[in-house]
Symmetry: C2
Subunit: 148 residues, 2 copies
DNA sequence: GGAGAATGGTCAAGCCGCTTGTCTACCCGG
DNA sequence: CCGGGTAGACAAGCGGCTTGACCATTCTCC
């Protein structure tokens, strides 16, 4: 995964490794408690505001097409993580809303990822890790206000 | 992409954003100079040691199956980025070797990614970025010695 | 208030990247 | 020289996404 020729590894490789670690953790979480859920499902769940959200607005937040999103949503609905109800204010639209089980899943994700971060912090030092996280946060775009 | 409910964004989201930025840069590079090459192709190229390498050993380094790898290698071979020659020491095996054009591509990647990193450093501060990168490096596994 | 455009969502087909399974060619240890 | 292991190719299939077409409803504006 690193570069045998040149000295320092490519950023992309470093990022990929961290992603890989995180994904492994999420898969373990799925195996243990939420069978069938993939990384994108957890991300989707974490995007849902309390009052529910329309599919179209989720596409903007998630960067997926509405078709892809609908497809990703199907297992979530089937598993009882979200419920899809008609939007009272627009008969074309449907609201996607977290269920209790969905909230359970998002809480579990936070918990699990927090554990990974604690582990990382222990490995590289609390302060250094804090800096790294802050840097990544700074590099990320401003919060996407999906919940208005 | 961020979380509207809870405070701090998930690590996975932060990492994904950085990855996304990097990938965008690589795509731009492909459009400009190396049409058809995707992120995995650049990574593959950067894995190749000077003397060439066998497909099977690359699978270990890349984490892909040999079939996936062979598939990813095809466009590289077609584009003249690598050449595949029989291994003199084992008639079953074939050596994948960088061509000049391949070396050109890897150099371009390094250049381009270095530019992104300079940009990031300017945005968050040289020292903070240096810490972040060092942390990511520490978290990555020891160098995979693909070139023996 | 009615026609036309815009929006929310679904259905269907297809592509791409990867997987598993199977096969041949070759190496190596007895 | 024979059996097991390894290098790699071939084929089929699948998951996740895309584009394209379509229907239902709502908005806009004359």
């Amino acid at each position: 995964m690193s570069d045998p020729v040149n000295g320092e590894p490519l950023v992309v490789v470093l990022l990929e490794h961290a992603m890989h670690r995180v994904r492994a953790e999420l898969y373990a979480l799925s195996d243990a408690s939420f069978p069938g859920l993939r990384t994108r499902h957890y991300r989707l769940l974490s995007l849902l505001p309390p009052g529910g959200e329309r599919l179209t607005r989720l596409t903007a937040a998630s960067g997926l097409t509405k078709q892809a999103l609908a497809q990703a949503l199907a297992p979530l609905q089937a598993g009882g993580y979200v419920e899809v109800v008609p939007d009272p204010s627009d008969r074309r639209a449907r609201l996607v809303r977290l269920t209790d089980r969905g909230r359970e899943a998002t809480a579990a994700v936070r918990h699990r990822l927090a554990a990974v971060e604690r582990e990382w912090a222990a490995q590289v030092g609390e302060e250094r890790y804090a800096v790294a996280r802050a840097v990544l946060t700074d590099l990320a775009p401003g919060p996407v206000t999906v919940g208005e």
